[in-house]
Symmetry: C2
């Protein structure tokens, strides 16, 4: 378990404490959040998504207790707020998320049994959207799309200040919008889905496509598909490797095209990019910005493309906790 | 001026009367609507979008007065509710709609000056969405997309029971989402926009593409591009022409693919199709349904594809009037 330090003294904590959880495909983050949206303590641990859900919940509960115990003199926890992939907030379940061996489980009931606290769950993309809308670069804006680029392409939608979840809590699956008709195979069974191009694995696929197409020498030719990570591609790109740079150019171009379609559909004030792939910074964001401005509808030229300033997991933890707090206070029904 | 008959006696009219207008690229429709959403009288006249806006407003005001005069013993009109393309409801203006010579005009102020009544304006796609959500096949549903297929591809979005207009009133421009990267030229300056394939002109372009690709005889080979209409293609298709049938198959397939992306983005309960092209019925809707069910996300298989039961202009007239009435009653701020 990797534990991060708290960054606020407990005496300064505003309001009751909620523990927020961001369940990621690789790592999970836990944070204890006060009433003003300050994360008093944060920890991260490997999800090990191949393990049974019971094992995961056992570890999660251990981390939550340990983290709360470290805040000496802290008031008791009031609620647990979970952000997870493929979460159905109405039923409290996680619906067989891709890359997890869990199947369909009632994560809310499982955590409730162990913690004896109110537990809520929300789709991770939606949680990040709320976190960014309340506490991030888009705070104060009422029409925003938040796009998370990591293992997949997830998203959250805030319109007229309200979270949009759709009829079956599946709104914002931008990763499965068609980007290239008849294009790359997607784990969902379709071809050409946006996330087969615009995600960490999508970047890797683009690298291998370029290695096949081109003849120039590149250190990327000495790395296997399974070994290659987005971080490595970014490092090579910064060192001047032409293939790595071309891969980011292409990925950014795809991203800008997808964003242009999303702007036509949603007409947001801003789009916020977050997630591991965005750590590549301008390698990805510059071509995306160029491509967006080339393809966006004239009428919507003013749309802002922003990069999240929150750290991994923080947006989702803050968003899930904010919604849980509003629900506890009866301000919204979730 | 083509005048349709009223279909309810004025004595039965519920509540105050509002006159709704649907400004179309070819024809405009005017309807007098009572408090229960009944259209008491309706008229249609050619828009002649090449004329100056002043000329149009003069004719529109004449039709509204004539129509109201025909309802003997009717109470006075309470408001004018306009549905128009490229309308910005906050500023009351129409922003240089494609295929109109109007430029940017304050249509609300112009009509107000002539009628001396409260006047409101709303994007035509949004108006149709509200009309369908309140009085049409999707009445009672809270998450719906309404797609209008005619000269272009317009849309309206209702989420959680509320109309979504976006940051600059441009939400729902699905016609300018990318469907075929690097595909057909669009009037907006881009390539491959959905409406270059899925619209009456899109169908016509597909017919000509097929005539170029194939060698089989077809009555379509004796008609020029400018002469050809969607109605003609539908007639030939029903008469068994293979090219016409293939053109509808292809258009329906494109439509189903676009809908699958929209379902991933919005997760609606239903999508309602309306507009002139939908008069082709199963020629278009059957392949669209097949293609949607082939490409839609597994999680969202339950989405309903519905065809509007309202006549040309009625959904927009009803939606604009409903919103105007709610605004008059202070129930919503538009």
């Amino acid at each position: 378990v990797i534990l991060g330090g708290g960054h606020a003294k407990v005496e300064e904590a505003g309001g009751d404490l909620i523990v927020g959880v961001d369940v990621g495909g690789t790592n999970s983050s836990v944070g204890i959040v006060d009433g003003e949206g300050k994360i008093l303590a944060q920890a991260r641990f490997p999800t090990q998504a191949g393990d049974p859900a019971e094992t995961y919940v056992g570890r999660l509960v251990g981390v939550m207790r340990e983290l709360h115990g470290r805040l000496q003199g802290a008031p008791p926890l009031q609620a647990v707020a979970i952000a997870a992939p493929a979460a159905n907030s109405r039923e409290g379940v996680v619906e067989s998320p891709a890359n997890f061996s869990w199947g369909r489980i009632n994560l809310v009931a499982m955590v409730k049994r162990a913690m004896d606290l109110p537990v809520s769950i929300i789709n991770d993309g939606n949680a990040a959207a709320l976190g960014e809308a309340r506490y991030g670069v888009a705070s104060g804006m009422t029409n925003i799309l938040i796009i998370t680029l990591g293992t997949g392409l997830g998203a959250g939608i805030v319109l007229d200040g309200r979270l949009v979840q759709g009829h079956t809590s599946a709104a914002g699956e931008f990763g499965h919008m068609a980007l290239v008709p008849g294009g790359r195979q997607c784990a969902c069974g379709e071809r050409g889905c946006a996330e087969t191009y615009i995600s960490a694995p999508g970047l890797r696929r683009t690298v291998f496509e370029l290695l096949a197409e081109r003849v120039d020498e590149s250190p990327l030719r000495r790395i296997s598909f399974d070994e290659l990570t987005a971080e490595m591609v970014a490092r090579f790109a910064r060192d001047g490797d032409a293939v790595a740079n071309a891969a980011f150019e292409k990925t950014g171009d795809y991203l800008g095209r997808l964003l242009a379609s999303l702007v036509a559909a949603f007409d947001p004030e801003a789009i916020v990019l977050c997630g591991g792939l965005v750590n590549a910074g301008d390698l990805l964001v510059s071509p995306a910005r160029r491509s967006l401005s080339e393809h966006v509808l004239e009428r919507c030229r003013g749309v802002k493309l922003l990069v999240s300033g929150l750290k991994e997991g923080q947006a989702a933890i803050l968003g899930a906790s904010w919604l849980a707090r509003e629900t506890l206070q009866g301000a919204v029904s979730a």
